[in-house]
């Protein structure tokens, strides 16, 4: 019996006010794929940071390949053969694939960099594991899936036998995910141990041999992937049964609320190249697509942060092409940004203040521009209560909340004005399963109350769960619309990659 590739025993880590890991045992065998699932805050990232040597545990030990990690930090973990692929890639876009792979460990002598040796090294690694990767390509020109492969090659190039991947599929389209699954299976077959962190249960079941569920810093269960059903996993993750997925589609669709006609925006990368789109009251239009294909320009144009170069935007029966954000919000536009801590909230302000943001005409404002603290605190408490943010204390800074709670605050604020149009950018990115359930229910009930909803998301599962019609944004142009029932993941995936539509 060989030693486990990675073994964490009795890991306990306490942060001020939180027990992040509570006597966690976790072991990964060589040649297997082990999925680590759990809600945000369940302790997954803390556990993996401990495995990498980035964080020292209060109690417990980490063994990598049978060797004790001790307290000597990430360099020691790397030396023992552990590597991590982060969710946000740590690549230099202007450098080549080979440059990125060997960064920090460049081959060469006397301070000279031997690029040919680097490229040969990358080619060899890629060949061994069947990667399709040109060592000379500029990383900035690669697709997200290819960049991820660069990260994996880099980790393998350090000689890692244990590879941890943090939410690797969050940014991938289905076809790229399939490719990643194949790569991971090959790596496992070659004797590597893979730790796969994910929120997405279907993938977890497809990839993993073993699944460990964390909740509240404890291991709830570790089971063979074959033995796990999605419903069981979901229950283990949130600690209760989830409501059946909502399938209610739009019932009463009324007139157009938002109309984009041949909108083009300035710039080249990620600009809109002639987008026409109509969103009607009482329906959710989903905009699928790989990030960077014009999502930002679309959101910014609709909200009024950016004025189109040509084309027109009508909202609530007015031409708003050349008006600003305030004017559109006054006419009933609401916006949930995909950049929660940058655009959605002011992290250093209290929840009460954040709830006051973007509601310029609310009753919280008192006499002649003076605020009435009592009134707006009461209003804040009411919104927090409706948004199920616990504890509903409005005097906390927004930065102290979990991602899910932050998003509940943003959505609660935006829905408080009973908007005509709700513009959503990746509304549940980084939100845990229980939070997603709640946010989706809120969005659907806003639609049923007659709001038009524009949902821009890279998450196909989300689009398929919510949207009534789907369009795909590719290269700044829209494809579709497809009726939701015709929008299978395969068909959407093809459109997202720019392939011809073959229904």
């Amino acid at each position: 019996m060989t030693a486990p590739a990675l073994e964490l025993a009795g890991i306990t880590k306490r942060y001020p006010g939180v027990l992040a890991c509570d006597a966690v045992d976790f072991r990964v065998e060589p040649g297997s794929v082990h999925a680590l699932v759990g809600e945000n805050g369940a302790g997954k990232s803390t556990l993996m940071s401990i495995a990498c040597g980035l964080v020292a545990p209060d109690a417990g030990t980490v063994h990598i390949g049978g060797e004790l990690l001790g307290r000597r930090g990430p360099a020691r973990a790397r030396a023992l053969g552990l590597g991590m692929v982060h969710q946000h890639f740590l690549l230099v876009p202007t450098l080549s694939v080979a440059d990125n792979v060997v960064l920090g460990r460049e081959p060469g002598r006397l301070g000279a960099y031997d690029r040919a040796a680097a490229e040969a090294r990358v080619r060899a690694t890629a060949l061994r594991y069947g990667f399709d990767l040109d060592p000379r390509a500029r990383v900035g020109d690669l697709s997200v899936g290819e960049q991820q492969r660069v990260e994996i090659v880099r980790v393998l190039d350090t000689g890692a036998r244990v590879v941890i991947l943090d939410e690797p599929t969050a940014v991938l389209v289905p076809q790229e995910t399939a490719e990643l699954v194949r790569i991971l299976r090959d790596l496992a077959a070659a004797g590597h141990a893979i730790v796969f962190i994910s929120h997405r249960l279907p993938e977890v079941r497809a990839i993993a041999d073993t699944i460990t569920v964390l909740r509240g810093g404890r291991v709830v269960e570790t089971l063979a992937a074959r033995a796990a059903s999605e419903a069981n996993l979901a229950r283990a993750i949130v600690g209760r049964a989830l409501a059946a997925p909502v399938v209610a589609r739009a019932r009463s669709v009324a007139g157009a609320v938002l109309e984009l006609t041949d909108v083009r925006t300035a710039g080249t990368r990620g600009a809109l190249q002639g987008v026409s789109l109509t969103v009607r009251a009482g329906e959710i239009v989903g905009v699928a697509g790989v990030e960077g294909n014009g999502q930002q320009a679309l959101l910014r144009s609709v909200l009024g942060l950016e004025t189109p170069r040509s084309g027109s935007i009508r909202f609530a029966a007015h031409d708003v092409t050349h008006t600003g954000v305030a004017e559109r919000r006054r006419r009933g536009m609401a916006y949930v940004s995909d950049d929660r801590l940058g655009e959605g909230l002011v992290p250093e302000m209290t929840l009460a203040e954040n709830l006051l943001l973007s509601t310029p005409q609310s009753d919280a404002l008192g006499w002649r521009g003076f605020l009435r603290p009592a009134a707006w605190r009461a209003r804040a408490a009411a919104i927090l209560d409706a948004a199920a943010v616990r504890p509903a204390r409005a005097d906390r800074d927004a930065r102290t909340l979990s991602g899910g709670n932050q998003q509940k605050v943003v959505l609660g604020r935006e829905l408080a004005g009973a908007p005509r149009l709700l513009v959503l950018g990746q509304p549940t990115r980084g939100v845990d399963v229980g939070g997603i359930e709640f946010l989706h229910a809120q969005i659907l009930s806003a639609r049923d109350a007659g709001a038009a909803v524009l949902l821009v998301s890279a998450d196909l599962a989300e689009i398929r769960a919510l949207a009534d019609r789907v369009v795909v944004l590719y290269g700044g142009q829209l494809r579709g619309p497809l009726d939701i029932d015709a929008a299978t993941p395969e068909r959407l995936g093809r459109l997202m990659l720019g392939a011809e539509d073959v229904a």
């Binding site: 006010g17 305030a326 940058g342 959605g344 002011v346 310029p360 003076f370």
Partner: protein, 354 residues
Amino acid sequence: MNRRAAWVAAIVAPALAVLAALATGALLAAALGRNPFEIYALLGRETFGSWYGLGQVLFKATTLAATGLAAAMAFRAGLFNVGAEGQLYLGGLAAAVAALTLPPACPAVLAIPVTLVAAAAAGAAWAGVAGVLRARLGVHEVIATILLNFIAMALGSWILVTHFAQFETLHTAEIPAAARWARLESVWPAFRGAPLNGAAWLVLVLSGACVVLLWHTRWGFEVRAVGASEKAARAAGIPVRRRLFEAMAVSGALAGLAASNFVQGYKYYFEDGFTAEAGFRGLAVALLARSHPLGIVPAAILFGALDRGGFVLSQKVPKEFADILQALVLLFVVVLQPGLRRFMERRQSLEGRE
């Protein structure tokens, strides 16, 4: 939770910093061959130990508090107004010119406000130039305000010399009595001889007004939102560029009003060089006060005391001694504050669990 920690840290850190600076200063005094106790005894006596000394301290603190408020107002909007010196300079000139052009029979109830408005307007206009450059053209306000300082000085002294300077001096004629602040010694004889005057009350009112403006009006809320996150403010529909400009102008107005202490309360004329870097030192005051208008007043008093101390101590130790003390206070604040805040947060979360 962390709110209370922040408050405690905001008060304890400066206090500790002052103690640490005094301790370090004692070592320095000893190294200079002086008895530190003797030095500090003298410092204490001449600042808070006598009514006259206190009057001098509060007089100096008045100007620093106003420029400190100017810096704090800009900080809250995320702006760094390094131009208070120039705004103060032009505010003083405008105040003197306005007071000098008043009709002779003008009563004080009119003359004082008119003079104040002139000072505020000049400061606001000068800061507004930097505000426009920032809001419209994206020119960084630090660069703009620093450079505008030089222009303000040159422009102001040219106007002074060509139009208003008294023969063979670099100051204007004295302003009429109606435009002058009363000295506090006229109601409080204990302050006899100290130039402490009505501008001190003005500054207290301004500091309260800043609190109301920033935390109890929609304008102030929007300014703080812009300062904390321009992106979020823009997405919320707040007119970001207008608020940036306005905050800069208000900051300039406060800096301009700081001139009132000298022009209307002390010498009764505008004089080239009267600013004595009070505009720059307002930044230090705001830093010590963590840009909170209520913290500005004690912070300005501390700096006023060190100012006064430098003057008094120059008979015993080099005059740089007080400058070093001031710098040490700031240095220790910057070093101590983050650590203290973390310490408070940790202690509270431990308490919270028990």
